[in-house]
């Protein structure tokens, strides 16, 4: 299965009630797959008139307590930012998949990681975060889906799965987690007693993001921030490979992490001690792990398919303790093992070179 289809089936197995989406390359397999499978499952599929409409359909379904998602690619995700800000403000759970392509603008349809800032720093207006996952293979793309729904429900927050055109398109053997439906009753997830289900026999429920009273939005923001601190504490996920004794630590996520790991392995064969730190959650970011690793004074090499976005978070975590260098390609250029290895070798011969 290609990553797009694996992730779509995993969402269905995770109890997806409704999918809303608009065609855009390179994630069209999702929409096509959903149109067939959601009908078979007698669940909701709507091809919307725009990404604006898709994210607001998600808003509507989420407000009634349903498990819902949309998927798109970079330009479409930009259009959704208004809706994502409202979802974050109204604390509605949902999953948003971004199969990133080259940008800015219409860019191209090649794989990219250029939407990191947009995803982890908010993206729309206001102070908010979404939980952001950066899967690095088709299996992980599928495995993260039930977790994304669970965490979205647990914290009443939108969860973004930040993939790229390679992950969406490439085929790998994959085992889809079957019937991974975890609902409030059986999984320790909070009851959705806030949902709009008709006020029969109870007080009116209101889902809102406008707080006009003096100080009310300020308080709402503090409440959101308290929730974000909890998420940072409980849900930061990261994989470390040979980082303990490394002189050079590569920090990379998604498809770049697989390329980086291969380069690290080849470097080890040449006697260069290279390790990898792979953030699985991009927000919350594994800052503490990187900070601790920085105490041993390795050189950090950040590899991204962008001009250096996650680089800034690595620098913040390292806080000047040790050098942080970057190698990457923007606009749909693909990072290769050879180039990463070349960069590693360059750091060994001239460690101060940036």
């Amino acid at each position: 299965m290609c990553g797009n289809e694996a992730m779509a089936e995993a969402a269905i197995q995770a109890g997806l009630d409704a999918y809303f989406g608009y065609p855009i390359t390179p994630q069209n397999e999702v929409t096509a797959y959903m149109s067939q499978r959601m009908a078979e499952e007698k669940r909701v599929f709507v091809q919307s008139e725009s990404e604006l409409a898709a994210i607001n359909m998600v808003f509507g379904a989420a407000a009634t307590g349903k498990r819902t998602m949309t998927s798109s690619s970079s330009p479409g995700i930009s259009l959704m930012q208004e809706g994502i800000s409202y979802l974050a403000a109204a604390e509605l759970p949902c999953v948003i998949v971004n199969v990133m392509r080259g940008g800015p603008g219409l860019g191209n349809i090649a794989p990219s990681q250029g939407d990191y800032f947009q995803s982890v720093k908010g993206g729309g207006h206001g102070d908010y975060h979404c939980i952001v996952f950066g899967p690095s293979g088709v299996q992980e793309f599928a495995d993260i889906m039930p977790l994304a729904f669970d965490l979205a429900d647990k914290y009443r927050i939108p969860a973004i799965i930040l993939a790229d055109g390679i992950l969406g398109q490439m085929m790998e053997p994959v085992v889809i987690p079957q019937n991974a439906v975890r609902r409030t009753q059986d999984a320790g997830l909070p009851k959705k007693d806030w949902a709009l289900t008709g006020a029969q026999g109870r007080k009116q429920n209101i889902v809102r993001s406008l707080w006009l009273a003096d100080g009310a939005v300020e308080q709402h923001n503090y409440d959101l921030q308290a929730k974000y601190r909890q998420i940072e504490k409980n849900e930061t996920r990261c994989e470390q490979t040979d980082a303990d004794d490394a002189d050079i630590i590569i920090v990379a996520y998604g498809i770049c992490a697989r390329i980086a790991k291969r380069a690290a392995q080849q470097a080890r064969e040449q006697g260069i001690k290279v390790g990898c730190i792979r953030p699985i959650t991009l927000w919350p970011f594994p800052s503490e792990i990187i900070s601790k690793a920085a105490d041993k004074s390795p050189i950090f090499l950040v590899v991204e398919m962008s001009c250096g976005q996650m680089l800034e978070d690595v620098r913040l975590a390292v806080a000047g303790k040790t050098p942080v260098v970057f190698w990457g390609r923007p606009g749909g250029g693909i990072v290769t093992v050879e180039k990463v290895l070349e960069k590693i070798q360059g750091l060994v011969t001239n460690p101060k070179k940036k």
Binding site: S50, A53, M57, Q204, V207, S209
Partner: protein, 245 residues
Amino acid sequence: MMQKVFTRPKTLKDCPTHYCPGCGHGIAHRLVCEVIDELGIQGKTIGIAPVGCAVLAYDYLDVDMVEVAHGRAPAVATGMKRTNPDKIVFSYQGDGDLAAIGTAEIIHAAHRAEQLTIVFINNAVFGMTGGQMAPTTMLGQITATTPQGRQADGQGYPLNVAELLAVLPGAIYVERCGLCSPAHIRKSKAALKHAFELQMNNAKGLSLVELLSPCPTYWRMTSPDAMLHIQNEMTKVFPLGKLKG
């Protein structure tokens, strides 16, 4: 023994509103609440408040409600109704919300024949932001952004959304009424009731009731003059009556 013959609808909360004197929202809210009461659907109705003067509609209407981004109500309603076909979903939208920023959403909701009820308040002006030109603003009408009066050349003509929607097969009922006299208000209520009944009866398509509604504040008129303005002027551009269904 005194008998109570007239009372506040159960669905309308007992509280003062923030609306200006002479505003049509109070009448429209009451009509919607009377209809919800009479149809016995308070416990299964989900309402959508717009961005605009009626953004706080949930403070007055005692049903489950959501407040959504400007113009996006028909998309949000689609997400709700598709996943909750047993609920009654309605949006309450002004002319800025529905006829300007939300034209794509309302047209495509109708185009997909979504089973929704839309209450469209047309007062020919953006109220909440301070009386700017709306797509429905009348030619010659003075607003904050048409200080010389709206000119067709450069500012366009009033947009007749109801007529636009009526030609779509997915819109099954479209009617325009005016909140400008007791007789017209009774007609408005009948239209609203029909629009809700269609959804209750699982009719396959979208129903929209446009209500020409007074805004004395930004029309720069007294309340009685605003009522007369609807009857004598607005209805020339926005003719009353059933357009479809």
